[in-house]
């Protein structure tokens, strides 16, 4: 016994000191990946893809929305629009500098945006952010396959600290539009020297503006490592010593790694069935623009509004909601296109009724007359997300039972339709907006120039002139003007009466991180907010 006691105390001491050492180890282990291998990179300029979740670790955005959806300064310290909101002036934070110690300049911001606008770099979403800048269209039309950058007349650096943006039409919310990690500045000189897909790789000695720098990246093994930025220019943080990334596409495996304490956070959600075992991983977060089913108003047979009416009214969307989100806290029912996070949300709307008789009548009134004469429906939930898949299959069963429609081609991914993609009748997608503005949401979702309705997109050429006019007017009004919301709601009514979308519930986005990762907060553009504040506290 006498011999064992000192041994025991030594052991205890070792264990204690070990646990202290572990507690102090500030390493954040992340499993990335949602789609394919192609999404594992740290090119901030692509304005989307998986890396957008982590891009704020490496690059400071122009401005950003915090967790309460308040606009916060980033690289730009202040911003101001002119009288009619056609010219915006942004002033740089004088402290802003790159990880090599050099200052960031206004010209660098402009150069970085111009690289994003060059069509060969295929930044699809740039339209939604900078499409309204004067000279945007002309610059894209004139660009060739070799032009890594274009010159846009509406973007100019007045001096080292001031960016002036001239817009083609008034936009009182333009400051909101640029408040996203998608428009973070990369060093244009690096991009032009090493190439658009290469400049950020450690072997090219890249510079960053965020709290961390990329210290290792292995394309083959699909791992990466971030360490603190030696020239971090904000007063606070960073607190983490290291951030590690591992590409893990299978959500089942991610689940096992979480349960086995191999990772602290992931991009993809883990199977919702694990909710009971790691409830903290499923803490809800606010995101805008949830999954929606769109009915193409162009492709037969859904080009007939009566067919769309029949398809929507014949489904008990409440039951679909229940089946789609069987676990408590996975989804919330919705009653209208606009999200309740948005400023123009209308609490009085109730959504489409479940009315089989009306649906049958609509189908009979359509130019096809009956289910037998209805051409094939082509549908896709776009990916293998469990919620979307369930919802679509549930809706298909309602169509079969209530309308007798069985002639449906289901493909999990839209590219399964190949060249028949133009004939797609129903697809699932998000309304990609990154700030909580109803007018912008309705523009993106329904305006004929918006991302959803433009040809080649889910609503593929949908035009409602009344809706367009209302939104065009609303967007020129100040966000504080109550008429902006009024017009937006009227536009939404037109949208609802066109029966182009099914809305029944939105999945509650989850944080996908353990609770001991403190200050791990995602913003409305799903990138981390203020990542320099993140710390590990077990």
């Amino acid at each position: 016994m006498r011999r064992i006691t000192p041994l025991f105390s030594i052991l205890t001491f070792v264990l204690l000191s070990l646990s202290v050492a572990f507690a102090q180890e500030q390493v954040l282990r992340i499993a990335t990946a949602s789609s394919g291998q192609s999404s594992f990179h740290f090119n901030v300029l692509v304005a989307g893809a998986d890396q957008q979740n982590w891009s704020t670790l490496l690059f400071m955005p122009p401005m950003y929305f915090d967790a309460d959806l308040q606009l916060q300064p980033g690289i730009f310290q202040s911003w101001e629009g002119n009288e009619d909101s056609t010219v915006w002036t942004f002033t740089m934070d004088p402290r802003a500098k790159w990880s090599d110690g050099s200052s960031m300049t206004a010209q660098q911001v402009v150069d970085s945006w111009q690289i994003q606008i060059a069509p060969v770099n295929s930044v699809g979403r740039i339209n939604g952010y900078l499409g309204n800048v004067a000279g945007f269209g002309a610059a894209r039309e004139g660009a060739g396959a070799d032009d890594l950058s274009v010159s846009v007349s509406g973007l100019e650096a007045l001096d080292d600290a001031t960016v002036r943006v001239t817009l083609a039409s008034p936009d009182p919310a333009f400051n909101w539009r640029v408040a996203t990690a998608h428009l973070s500045t990369a060093n244009a000189a690096d991009v032009l020297e090493h190439g658009y897909n290469e400049y950020w790789k450690p072997e090219n000695d890249p510079v960053f503006s965020g709290p961390f720098v990329l210290s290792a990246f292995d394309e083959n093994l699909q791992t990466a490592e971030l360490v603190p930025n030696p020239n971090w220019w904000r007063d606070e943080g960073p607190f983490l010593d290291k951030v590690t990334f591992q590409f893990v596409p299978d959500s089942q495996i991610i689940g096992a790694m979480v349960l086995n304490d191999q990772i602290d956070a992931s991009l993809a959600p883990i199977p919702s069935a694990l909710r009971g075992q790691v409830p903290d991983y499923f803490r809800p977060i606010q995101v805008i623009g949830f999954n929606t089913f769109w009915f193409s108003p162009i492709a037969p047979p859904t080009d007939d509004i009566n067919v769309r009416r029949a398809l929507i009214l014949s489904v008990d969307w409440n039951a679909v909601f229940r089946a789609t989100f069987p676990f408590e806290g996975t989804g919330v029912p919705t009653t209208q296109p606009m999200d309740d996070v948005l400023n123009c949300w209308d609490p009085a709307l109730t959504g489409y009724p479940f009315d089989v008789e009306a649906a049958e009548a609509a189908l009979a009134a359509s130019s096809y007359g009956s289910a037998e004469n209805l051409p094939k429906l082509r549908v896709t939930p776009r990916g293998n997300n469990e919620f979307n898949n369930r919802a679509l299959q549930a809706a298909m069963e309602f169509w079969r039972q209530n309308l007798g429609i069985e002639n449906i081609e289901f493909q999990e991914r839209p590219d399964g339709f190949g060249d028949d993609i133009d004939k797609l009748n129903l697809t699932r997608d998000d309304v990609v907006i990154r700030f909580p503005d109803g007018a912008t949401y309705m523009f993106t979702a329904g305006h004929s120039d918006g991302a959803v309705a433009r040809p080649g997109n889910p609503l593929d050429g949908y035009v409602n002139e009344d809706l367009d006019a209302l939104i065009d007017e609303a967007l020129t009004l100040s966000p504080d003007d109550p008429r902006r919301c009024e017009l937006t709601r009227q536009a939404q009514d037109f949208y609802i009466n066109d029966y182009v979308m099914a809305h029944f519930g939105k999945p509650i986005a989850t944080i996908n991180a353990r609770d001991y990762v403190e200050n791990y907060i995602k913003g409305p553009d799903i990138s981390l907010i203020e990542p320099w504040k993140i710390s590990i506290n077990r």
Partner: protein, 314 residues
């Protein structure tokens, strides 16, 4: 009496012998029974299923087994047992049509090559070599990806021409896709086997004699080549059917097989992989079914092998 018994023993044919040997092999007989049940379910399953395999009960999803739902319900409240029965149809259809198509192709190519010989033989065997030179799974995935749109569009056109609702049925489309891909990789095996038999039999003295007596090639084929090849063929067919069932499941797992809401064992498996930790009943049904059917094919194949190989000492 004694002489009678002796006579009977002598007149026992190869097949009677084989059948005797086969019957003595308990596992093989069990395998045959399981496969018979599987095929029967594929044939009549949808009619004896307690529920419509598509019918959803959105108020009763993910329920473990109960007296109403023997194997529980899936993530859309569909009866798993009924879906398994329907999946048996998918599997049986895939196994049968794949084997039938590849067998037909194989016999055609094999006999043609064997009888013609020379350049034709060389060319045909070169083609079948090339099919076998590409890894099977890769080839199936390639063919499936490449054929999907053309076949679907072909069906669409057929419907427009004929207005026959059969062509509207997307279920058949998926099946056609899967088994055309599987059949396209399986035929060279059969072709080789048949060709080998044709070559070896046609060198036999009695065949040469028959030819000299003016028997046509067709008759030679039917009388001598086919009966002699039957043993190895039966074994190859069994193996091919078993492999087709598993390959279909693999394709469905990769998202290239039968599309929802159709039921196949493979899609049932891959759908349940998201939820099996909390709802193991989703996985057990299809996994055990595939396992047992597969096992049955293996035992049946072994049994046939033993029974049809007269050299085997047992």
């Amino acid at each position: 009496m004694d002489s009678f018994a002796l006579q009977r023993a002598e007149s026992r044919s190869l097949w009677q012998d084989a059948f005797r040997r086969f019957r003595r092999n308990g596992l093989a007989v069990a395998g045959l029974v399981v496969i018979a049940i599987f095929l029967l379910m594929g044939l009549i399953g949808p009619w004896i299923a307690p529920y419509d395999f598509l019918a959803q009960d959105l108020f009763n999803i993910l329920k473990p087994p109960t007296p109403e739902h023997w194997l529980g319900t899936d993530e859309l409240g569909r009866d798993i047992f009924s879906r398994l029965l329907y999946g048996a149809r998918t599997a049986a259809l895939v196994a049968f049509s794949t084997t039938a198509i590849s067998l037909a192709l194989g016999i055609l190519v094999g006999t043609w090559a064997g009888l013609q010989g020379g350049r034709v033989d060389q060319f045909l065997m070169w083609i079948s070599d090339q099919v076998q030179a590409v890894p099977g799974l890769l080839l199936v995935m390639l063919i499936n990806t490449a054929l999907r749109r053309p076949i679907i569009n072909w069906f669409d056109r057929l419907y427009e021409q004929t207005r026959n609702p059969f062509y509207l049925n997307t279920n058949w489309l998926d099946f056609v896709l899967v088994f055309s891909a599987l059949a396209l990789i399986a035929w060279p095996g059969f072709a080789r086997l048949i060709r080998g038999q044709v070559l070896s039999v046609s060198q036999e003295d009695y065949v040469l004699a028959a030819r000299a007596l003016g028997t046509t090639e067709m008759q030679v084929m039917l009388r001598h080549v086919v009966p002699n090849s039957l043993g190895p063929l039966v074994i190859a067919v069994t193996a091919n059917m078993g492999a087709a069932v598993v390959l279909e499941a693999g394709l469905s797992f990769l998202g290239l097989g039968v599309q929802p809401p159709n039921a196949s064992w493979g899609t049932m498996l891959s759908d349940s992989l998201r939820l099996w930790q909390s709802f193991p009943h989703l996985l057990i049904g299809p996994a055990a079914t595939i396992g047992f059917v597969q096992l049955a094919f293996v035992f049946l194949g072994d049994g046939l092998n033993d029974a049809l190989d007269p050299r085997r000492v047992t």
